[in-house]
Symmetry: C2
Subunit: 206 residues, 2 copies
């Protein structure tokens, strides 16, 4: 990994065009060729960047100024990052080696497993039929059966949003066309989330 602190001006041309006026910034060049331009604030997103695979070429403009050109996977025809380097304040390289990678826990999958083990917490008498029940338009998170034998589709979300309700609605529509599932009345839906936005709740009671 190469770290460069430099006064620079950056221009990106690709799916959109973006321009950064001359200022002092950090330019990070990773081993896979990807380039990140960071300022001293904002969030984790760089001001400008080039995703891997990418290739950096150090050149000089007609009037003798240092210019770095970064091309994306499509080469010179695709996305291009043009960095006009006015003054280099620091330039260092470091061998980091491969990263063993990240281990996550507590995302939706985990929540889904928890609910799969205890479907009764969603509604009394609910039992699990199958997790990730496959349909033509994607898997239903949990397919259950209530105490009267009716099918219940459960959509699990960490954040309950409008599109989550729609996802569930989409499944319900499809499942209700499947006569083998509607034996004991129509398929109901349960929207399970850690946090449900009010708008989503409104739509859900439709």
């Amino acid at each position: 990994m190469r770290l460069v602190i430099a006064r620079c001006q950056v221009d990106y041309a690709g799916r959109l065009t973006a321009h950064l006026p001359m200022a002092t910034r950090l330019i990070m060049v990773k081993n896979d060729g990807s380039v990140l331009v960071h300022s001293d604030g904002g969030s984790y997103k760089p001001l400008n960047w080039m995703s891997p695979p990418a290739r950096l070429r150090e050149g000089v403009t007609e009037d003798g100024r240092v210019e770095w050109t970064v091309h994306g996977k499509d080469g010179p025809d695709g996305d291009t990052l043009r960095i006009l380097v006015d003054e280099v304040l620091s330039d260092s390289s470091h061998d980091l080696g491969l990263d063993p990678g990240l281990q996550k826990d507590g995302v939706e999958k985990h929540l889904q497993e928890l609910l799969a083990d205890h479907p009764g917490t969603l509604a009394p008498g609910l039992t699990l039929v199958r997790r990730e029940y496959p349909t033509a338009i994607g898997p239903v998170d949990l397919l259950c059966r209530d105490d009267r034998g009716s099918c219940v589709a459960v959509e699990v979300k960490r954040r309950g949003d409008i599109d989550g309700v729609e996802q569930l609605t989409r499944y319900l529509e499809l499942l209700n066309r499947d006569s083998t599932l509607c034996l004991n009345g129509s398929v109901r839906g349960i929207f399970a989330a850690q946090e449900i936005r009010p708008q989503a709740r409104v739509l859900a009671t439709d």
Copy 2:
């Protein structure tokens, strides 16, 4: 901005928990206290991070090892990043100053403006009623009227995807309940995108 290259192990606890085994990485500490942990690959997203405002405290564990603790906006009760620093290979600070900021061009808004100026390109005889027409469930990108006086709702997307079609369907359903808009027949919908995915096309012809 402070840049540290170090062998470290990172643990995040917040909305989820995440663990990074011991390895050599870049730790970027920005002026606003935010911390980014980068490996030498992947894309612009850090392996772990803490969003601003944040505060870093350099401490020592019981058994004498160096441990950095980063707390988020909620202080010690909120998100926490724990960095166990095994060996510092490089540690430098740089004054970058304020960044003048990014100028973008060519995203959806631009596309929407273009279509708003030339609604006729969507369908012959189409005229614009209003851009960002407000409804209870969000603004319709473009509300138009065709040559027969019927209302036409237009949803503009850079990439035509399933949820875009659903967004439009949602609007159409709502608009068709509004009798003042259905004077000359029901409200039609047009899905305008630079690129339309086949699945979305299938759903759209429903």
